[in-house]
């Protein structure tokens, strides 16, 4: 029943997204919404591994960039259709997650986190040295002149991001409410006890890193078309790594709503702050808010709201 209601909401959001493109033509609206949708995807993907399973990924930027650069390669080599780019970007990132997970997840969780920290630096070096995708200079990507059903490519990109964001949130919702999610929660609470209670911990952890990687890659794949000029420092931007963990941490990590709320609030606040004050100040605020939440409000905004509602009810 609840599942059907949420399916209805998801369909409504997608239709709403399309109708928006029919009625809104304000350029900045699409620019800002795209960024927020991208963050909803990154935060949701991060939370599947971080919030549900308890494994911290510091390398979201690397997973995002793998999606973006996979798409650049496919555009250059085959002029591939958008939907193939997106899937390939997601899959490449999923494989990266699987690989890193396979190498490090049999050990203590921190080793996975440390490996993801170093990952971004190394992959960025690799891209800088790879002339085919533009190297350090960067690369220009041409958008298609027109797309059917949309009056501009920007609107098409916005709509696709709405679809992708809905997909990632739906995936998170399914995981959370299925036996998979309960197994992941058992791992987060006590991995050894989980294994002794029949939970195939390694398999489930690899599943979580792979799915999480997929959606990060899917978030990155449309990026070249969105910016039309990609350089390593923009695709590997530390902002992605920070925001994709700060947003769930601030919103709340135990349910799918947390990352969405965090991404919308923090994403919108950053859009405003970047316009009004400098982007460095803006990042400083994100960092300080992150640390404050981690210390003072570990259950996040959604958790705080639930606790408040329970107090009212009681």
């Amino acid at each position: 029943m609840r599942g059907r209601t949420l399916l209805g909401v998801a369909v409504a959001v997608v239709i709403g997204g399309y109708l928006t493109t029919r009625f809104v033509s304000h350029g900045y609206f699409y620019f800002a919404s795209y960024v927020i949708l991208q963050y909803i995807m990154l935060a949701t993907a991060w939370n599947i591994l971080g919030g549900y399973t308890g494994y911290v990924n510091f390398g979201s930027a690397a997973f995002f960039a793998v999606g973006a650069y996979t798409s650049i390669v496919l555009i250059k080599a085959f002029k591939a259709y958008f939907i193939f780019l997106a899937l390939a970007g997601g899959l490449a990132s999923a494989l990266l997650g699987l690989g890193i997970g396979y190498l490090t997840l049999r050990l203590r969780g921190v080793f996975f986190s440390i490996a993801t920290l170093a990952l971004a630096v190394v992959l960025q070096t690799a891209v800088i040295n790879w002339g085919y995708v533009g190297g350090a200079r960067g690369i220009y990507i041409l958008r298609a002149r027109s797309v059917p059903f949309f009056s501009s490519y920007t609107e098409f990109l916005f709509f696709m991001m709405v679809v992708f964001a809905v997909l990632s949130v739906a995936a998170a919702w399914w995981i959370e409410n299925s036996w998979v999610g309960r197994g992941l929660a058992a791992i987060r609470d006590n991995e050894e006890a989980a294994e002794c209670m029949g939970v195939p911990t390694l398999k489930l952890k690899l599943f979580a890193t792979t799915v999480s990687g997929f959606f990060m890659g899917l978030a990155g794949a449309p990026f070249p078309y969105y910016v039309t000029y990609v350089e390593p420092s923009s695709a590997f931007n530390l902002d992605y790594a920070v925001n994709s963990l700060a947003m769930p941490m601030i919103g709340g990590t135990t349910s799918w709503a947390g990352p969405v709320v965090g991404a919308i609030l923090l994403g919108a606040a950053q859009q405003i702050a970047t316009v009004t004050i400098s982007s460095a100040w803006n990042l400083l605020i994100v960092g300080v808010v992150l640390v404050a939440f981690v210390i003072l409000a570990p259950e996040g905004l959604v958790g705080l709201a639930l606790r408040l509602a329970r107090k009212r009810g009681a």
């Binding site: 036996w179 309960r182 197994g183 929660a185 058992a186 987060r188 609470d189 006590n190 050894e192 006890a193 989980a194 294994e195 002794c196 209670m197 029949g198 939970v199 195939p200 911990t201 390694l202 135990t254």
Partner: protein, 241 residues
């Protein structure tokens, strides 16, 4: 002699240069109440970790129903029917007591048949163990004995044929010890083989049909509680020279 349910053959476990287990062998029969005792650091918990799969033994074999457990990860062993409780309780702290039981029910007892009514089964087990009043409480709100009971309930929820109880009574009052003993006897009555690791001699001696004594990673005695009580080597191991 009936074929052993669990057979431990020459098991060796090393930690660096230290031999925690040095060629331990014994068998546990189907339906038996089996005691495993020994002084601190004698290797009891290490042995249990090797049986449950938390540790890999360096040499020797462990057979369950004649099947070599060697290559199987811990979760597969649980699904075959070996469940354990932990000496220091390790609850899933973000979940309610009932939800704690749903994990083994879903992942071990019904690993191949999803869709079973695990919630109802969880309540049934909690009722059996006397924790039903706490079903919807998070584990942080449990007392010491309730925590121990949860450990056992969770192991039971895996529907094991062999239950390993690792010092489930340490730190409990005498009345609480009897409560746990009674529970284990009832489980045994349902056909579950029980291995009890315990320091409380009164409990092991009254519970077990057969006892194995470990000291410094070696088996030093095996027999009925009566035989163990009169054994000179055991006395020496516990009291020192």
């Amino acid at each position: 002699m009936a074929r052993a349910l669990l057979e431990v053959r020459g098991v060796v476990k090393r930690f660096g240069g230290f031999r925690a287990l040095n060629g331990v062998s014994f068998g546990v029969r189907e339906g038996e109440r089996f005691g495993l005792i020994g002084p601190n650091g004698s290797g009891k918990t290490t042995l249990i970790n090797c049986v449950s799969g938390a540790l890999r033994n360096d040499a020797g074999t462990i057979l369950f129903r004649g099947r070599d457990l060697g290559p199987l990860p811990a979760y597969r062993r649980t699904r075959l029917g070996i469940a354990r409780s932990f000496q220091i309780p390790r609850p899933f702290a973000s979940m309610t007591v009932a939800a704690n039981l749903c994990i083994p029910l879903e992942y071990a007892a019904h690993a191949r048949s999803r869709g079973a009514d695990v919630a109802a089964e969880a309540r049934e087990i909690l009722r059996l163990i006397g924790l039903e009043a706490k079903a919807d409480v998070r584990t942080g709100g449990l007392t010491q004995i309730e925590m121990r009971k949860l450990e056992l309930a969770r192991a039971m929820a895996a529907k094991p044929s062999l239950l390993i109880s690792d010092e489930a009574m340490a730190g409990l009052s005498s009345g609480e010890v009897d409560e746990i003993l009674d529970l284990l006897r009832r489980l045994n009555g349902q056909g579950i083989t029980v291995i009890m690791i315990e320091h409380i001699m009164r409990a092991v001696m009254s519970f077990s049909e057969r006892i194995v004594v470990l000291d410094a990673g070696e088996k030093i005695a095996e027999g009925t509680p009566g035989e163990i009580a009169g054994n000179k080597d055991v006395e020496r191991a516990y009291l020192g020279e």
